[in-house]
Symmetry: C2
Subunit: 217 residues, 2 copies
């Protein structure tokens, strides 16, 4: 049986819709009353693992799921050995450096050397500031990163920005993008190599469905 790791949260609805277009019905995971974390499709050909965003690459890398759907932001942060198969196009957002609007900084290079930067994505932030040759002290936070500059703990943050509403509400402004992120279909490399056509069929169907979705959009 094929196991697919799906991320709880913002990507779930679109993930289920895309798999439906590719012939796999995971709609049971959208049921509000569902408490199960492992759900089979009605056809019995596959099952979904319902896990945290950041755990999708782990389940796929360890081969407990052959396929998974997760944002590029998470893949870039965790750097686990999974194969990126299809850019699904949805879940678009950008990873950005943001500062207090009143600070006057216009780009990341304006930040003072050795200042503090708070982020949930410290690996991505580290790579970015290293490439910029700007030494900063990264402070890892698990949530509400916007509190960093508000409390004065950090000069800047590196965080995902979708609509920008959270930043505006907190008097912050994005000054530079690290990268753009969308949801990706990922696969266990060995499972892909040993595949007898079953996985390839799903991946191809997902690729086609994504191309169609992209044209419509």
């Amino acid at each position: 049986m094929i196991t697919v790791a799906l991320a709880k949260g913002a990507l779930l609805k679109d993930s289920v819709a895309r798999f439906a277009a590719a012939g796999l019905d995971f709609s049971a995971v959208l049921d509000k009353n569902n408490r199960q974390l492992m759900l089979p499709t009605p056809c019995g050909r596959a099952r979904a693992l319902l896990v945290r965003n950041g755990d999708v690459p782990t389940y796929v890398a360890y081969g407990q799921a052959q396929l998974g759907v997760v944002g590029f932001d998470v893949l870039n942060e965790h750097q686990l050995p999974v194969a990126q198969l299809v850019d699904l196009g949805f879940g678009g957002c950008r990873m950005a450096v943001a500062v207090k609007e009143s600070s006057g900084y216009k780009r990341a290079a304006d930040l003072p050397p050795h200042c503090r930067v708070a982020s949930k994505f410290t690996h991505s932030a580290r790579s970015f500031f290293n490439a910029l040759d700007l030494p900063v002290e990264l402070v890892h936070l698990n949530g509400s990163v916007e509190l960093g500059p508000i409390t004065g703990m950090s000069e800047a943050i590196v965080d995902l920005v979708a609509t920008g509403r959270t930043l505006r509400e907190n008097g912050l402004v994005a000054i530079e993008d690290l990268f753009h992120s969308t949801a990706r279909l990922v696969g266990h490399p060995l499972a892909m190599r040993l595949d007898q056509g079953e996985l390839r069929e799903i991946v191809d169907a997902m690729r086609q469905a994504s191309a169609i979705a992209l044209e419509v959009a």
Copy 2:
């Protein structure tokens, strides 16, 4: 002004009640419609920072909050330089090793060397298995750790157990405890040293209120 970092979630209600007994009214953070992350008390003497469980030690260690309330489990995992001031007694749970009930393992030392152990608390788990002299491969997960043994990714888990309901529902059983955890009042060491009596007063009141709560219980 005194800033107190409070953890969102299970400890919040009891934390607010304990501070109320010590003369600080943070009840505004319990308002369901509240979206603010930084709220002053009505008396204006202090303010609350509403943050994730795992971020409380960070805000206190960096001095953005002079005081904070957080579970011992989090303190033990993050090992940040904060002073543990009072054991508040509530939020009791234990950090335990759990396995599939069908596995037959009776204690942690029964686990096969080099087996996988999934946990959100990989630092605590590492210390425990090192002390046991049992080499294991730790897999870091962010949530739903019980899926580790269910999917076959790991032989065991290390996780918080309160009532044991989640374990039972997933066919798992706790076989050994790492430690017992309760909520702690923590402080920024330098703020405590430079204190003119203001913080000491709150800490003493919290200690008294906790002693009374302990007697009643």
